[in-house]
């Protein structure tokens, strides 16, 4: 028997430890765990039990966020498998960086384009395609599971972070243009 604070997120949610998750089952499990552990269920219980309930529910919430989002899930899974991402390692694939710089440059000068909003949509579409491709690549690498694949998966996760940040900047830029 194990303590939720000791179990890893996949164990806590009863999901197989792999990159693919069934998001519907995840949501269902989330509600079941909430029903059992939420502090509202322990309002009249002892202080010790209230404290446990608070810690466990916080863990349930954190696990849900991590398992739900592909990027967080991939980083977490890599850590579990013994290939944690090194934040200090900023080396990136050259071609990828070049593409990113081009997109960024276009984003910076977007106001000068004939139709800035249209241009933003183009960038957004491009990012979405890149993210989908990365997602599929990640699935393959985790399924393959060799040391080489997992190290490559780490590179993919770093790229995914890049794309996500750029997508946020596109959204901010759009608000500026609209506002």
């Amino acid at each position: 028997m194990s303590d939720p604070l000791q179990q890893n997120y996949f164990e806590l949610y009863g999901c197989p430890q792999q990159f693919s998750v069934d998001s519907q089952l995840l949501a269902q499990r989330y509600l079941e765990l909430q029903q059992q552990y939420h502090p509202d269920r322990f309002v009249t219980a002892s202080e010790e039990q209230k404290r446990l309930s608070l810690q466990w529910t916080a863990r349930v919430n954190d696990a849900f966020q991590t398992l739900k989002q592909p990027l967080l899930r991939a980083s977490y899974l890599l850590t579990l498998l013994g290939y944690p991402l090194d934040a200090a390692d900023t080396a990136m694939d050259g071609d990828f960086l070049l593409q990113q710089m081009e997109l960024r440059e276009r984003l910076e000068n977007i106001a000068a384009e004939a139709d800035p909003l249209q241009a933003l949509d183009e960038i957004r579409l491009r990012l979405q395609q890149d993210e989908e491709a990365l997602f599929q690549r990640l699935e393959q690498r985790f399924a393959e599971g060799s040391a080489h694949s997992l190290r490559q998966a780490g590179e993919d996760v770093k790229q995914m972070k890049f794309l996500q940040r750029l997508r946020e900047e596109v959204n901010e830029r759009e608000e500026q243009l609209l506002g």
Binding site: M1, Q35, A45, S46
Partner: protein
């Protein structure tokens, strides 16, 4: 699927016993208390049959305090010592209050840690202390009408209340001797009162038009999660404006000068309010207005004329509605339910225009002044354990992001807004100078990039970091937000294993010590009463704990505990029973704590066992490829 029940005290096998709880709507203008009796939630009236308690407190030189209608009538004679609208200052700093405007006559002075106080004949009082008088009054009403002490209460707060405002509300309740089970968002309470939480999903608009303020909240319900998507409003728009518009019309018709005396204006406002209420039921109203010279003016007003006078005011509320929908990113036609709150929504014209705007018939069956308190009482009833079979669970989110100040005055978000609570997040930081032994930590709340644009919650220093090279120390800052949205921050240095923990208290609530001091002061003259009450409370608590534990032991003790572990718990129970034979409540309390400590592991194993069972009930193959 049927969820496994954990046999906790509130769900035990013992014969069902009704636990007494209540919901409190602590309002800006009026406050109410409600409780569930025989399955029905109802607000409680005072001896004169009045349900609404005006949120007004009057302090007299001799130290007596009056609350409600009686205090309100003192406002004219003693304005500086008659405090109203205190909710607007709860959890606010001195600077916030200056920004709120100066239409109130009170004399604010700086208290400790930037906490404002109001100068009165009985001394400088914090908004927390003033609000606690209102809560004490309702607490008393509750005890008298039900004949006992509630096990716990749910208090409602506006959805936009930030952390210090929530903390201050809780502090006020603590001072009033109430056990707060949960703080609940007002719009969520209104939705619960209408049973909207029973739906599986949907978008709900809660339109709250009170005497002096207007609030609109857009909620989304999804599989038991109530999420506040957006709030908007106008803090200077209310039913009073409607009365004023009618009064202005009367003055023009009756030939009363704009510079009519204060007394005349007051009477005109009362007349206007009465005419407005009359036109809710009738097509036309006839009335006599007494002028200052003692002559009378006879007037009449029909509904159509009324609409021409007040429509502009009602339409003003639709602007924030539109803004809130935009903020939430919700199209008008996706709003499935519209809930009406606040006395001004009694007017048929308000219902009509709001219904037309949202293209939905609004919910109006429950008294709009009481609907929030009723929803709070229903939630309290579930929390206290009267509905063990209820699947309902409100999962709340934090309204604003929590973060830390980084170098350069930038705010780094640790917990983003709309994160489901409770939540705990940790982040590691390091030193930036060689030999640095202290680190300033500044906790902020808000969505903006710059710290100066966010709300400052707390500052503290982590000291005693061993001198190391820059970047070598590992300082882990953990944010924990409980189910009420209240925050504690802990920082500790990990590399050396030396631990320095600091719990942060919000700047504008009261420190625990201060609350303790105030409680002691208020009870000093009733020392013996207090001891007796404490003993009684501790004995009740002891019985409850032992009863629950024995039920749990009977169910799972054999399976989950070794003989030695079982013996330790049995010993702790015996020790507690022994302590109850004496008259020292603190010994009983200690024995309860000791018993809780010795049974924590058992409780953890039981929670675990039940979830293992829940999980093994599923076919592992269905978890997905």
């Amino acid at each position: 699927m049927a969820l496994l029940q954990i046999s906790e005290p509130n769900q035990g096998d013992a014969p069902h016993q009704h636990r007494f709880s209540a919901g409190i709507d602590l309002g800006t203008t009026n406050s109410l208390v409600a409780t569930v009796r025989s399955g029905m939630a109802e607000t409680l009236p005072d001896a004169q049959g009045r349900h609404l308690l005006p949120s007004v407190v009057h302090y007299r030189r001799d130290g007596t305090v009056t609350v409600g209608a009686q205090a309100k009538s003192a406002a004219q004679g003693d304005p500086l010592n008659t405090l109203s609208s205190t909710k607007r200052f709860l959890g606010r700093g001195v600077n916030d209050i200056k920004r709120l405007g100066t239409q109130l006559p009170y004399h604010f002075v700086d208290g400790e840690k930037g906490m404002p106080k109001v100068r009165t004949v009985v001394g400088d009082l914090s908004p927390v202390e003033v609000s606690s008088e209102i809560l004490k009054h309702l607490h008393q009403r509750l005890k008298e009408s039900v004949g006992g002490e509630p096990e716990g209460v749910v208090i409602t707060v506006p959805a936009y209340f930030d952390e210090p405002q929530r903390q201050a509300t809780k502090d006020a309740a603590l001072l009033a001797g109430l056990n707060v089970m949960r703080l609940l968002n007002e719009p969520t309470a209104a939705a619960i009162a209408y049973g909207l939480d029973q739906k599986s999903e949907g978008v709900i608009a809660v339109y709250d038009f009170g005497g002096g303020t207007f609030d609109i909240s857009i909620l989304r319900l999804n599989r038991g999660v109530f999420e506040v998507l957006a709030t908007s409003g106008d803090s200077a728009l209310g039913g009073d404006d409607i009365d004023r518009a009618i009064a202005t019309w009367i003055m023009a018709q009756a030939g009363i000068d704009d510079d009519a005396g204060h007394h005349q204006m007051r009477r005109l406002m009362d007349d206007a309010c009465r005419i407005k209420e009359e036109l809710s039921d009738r097509e036309e109203s006839e009335f006599l207005i007494e002028k200052e010279d003692g002559t009378f003016w006879e007037g009449r007003l029909n509904r159509q004329q009324l609409h021409r006078i007040i429509d502009t005011i009602i339409r003003k509320t639709l602007v924030p509605c539109r803004r809130a929908l935009n903020d939430a990113g919700i199209a008008l036609n996706r709003v499935e339910d519209v809930v009406m709150v606040g006395g001004s929504t009694r007017m048929p014209r308000v219902r009509q225009l709001v219904g037309a705007f949202f293209q939905r018939e609004p919910h109006v069956a429950i008294d709009p002044d009481r609907v929030v308190a009723i929803g709070a009482a229903m939630q309290a009833d579930i929390l206290v354990g009267n509905k063990p079979d209820s699947d309902m669970l409100l999962l709340d989110v934090i309204p604003l992001s929590l973060g830390l100040e980084m170098m350069g005055g930038l705010a780094e978000k640790i917990i983003p807004r709309n994160t489901t609570i409770p939540v705990a997040r940790a982040q590691e930081f390091t030193t930036y100078k060689d030999g640095q032994t202290a680190m300033a930590i500044h906790v902020v709340q808000g969505e903006r990039e710059l710290v100066s644009d966010c709300r400052s919650l707390a500052r503290f220093e982590l000291r005693g970091i061993p001198a190391m090279a820059a970047g070598a120390a590992r300082i882990r800052v953990t944010f924990q937000v409980d189910a009420d949205g209240l925050l504690s921050v802990v920082a500790h240095e990990a590399v050396t294993g030396i631990e320095s923990r600091i719990e942060v208290k919000p700047s504008y609530g009261l420190g625990d010590d201060e609350v303790a001091r105030m409680i002691q002061e208020s009870m000093a003259h009733a020392r013996e009463d207090m001891d007796a009450r404490n003993l009684r409370e501790q004995n009740v608590e002891a019985d409850r704990v032992v009863e629950a534990l024995e039920a749990a032991l009977a169910a799972d003790g054999e399976q989950l505990l070794s003989p030695q572990e079982r013996q330790a718990i049995d010993d702790a129970i015996a020790h507690l029973r022994q302590s109850q034979k004496g008259s020292d409540w603190s010994r009983v309390k200690e024995a309860i704590s000791a018993l809780n400590r010795s049974s924590t592991e058992f409780a953890a194993r039981r929670m675990n066992a039940s979830i293992q069972l829940a999980l093994s009930g599923q076919n592992v193959d269905t978890f997905g490829e």
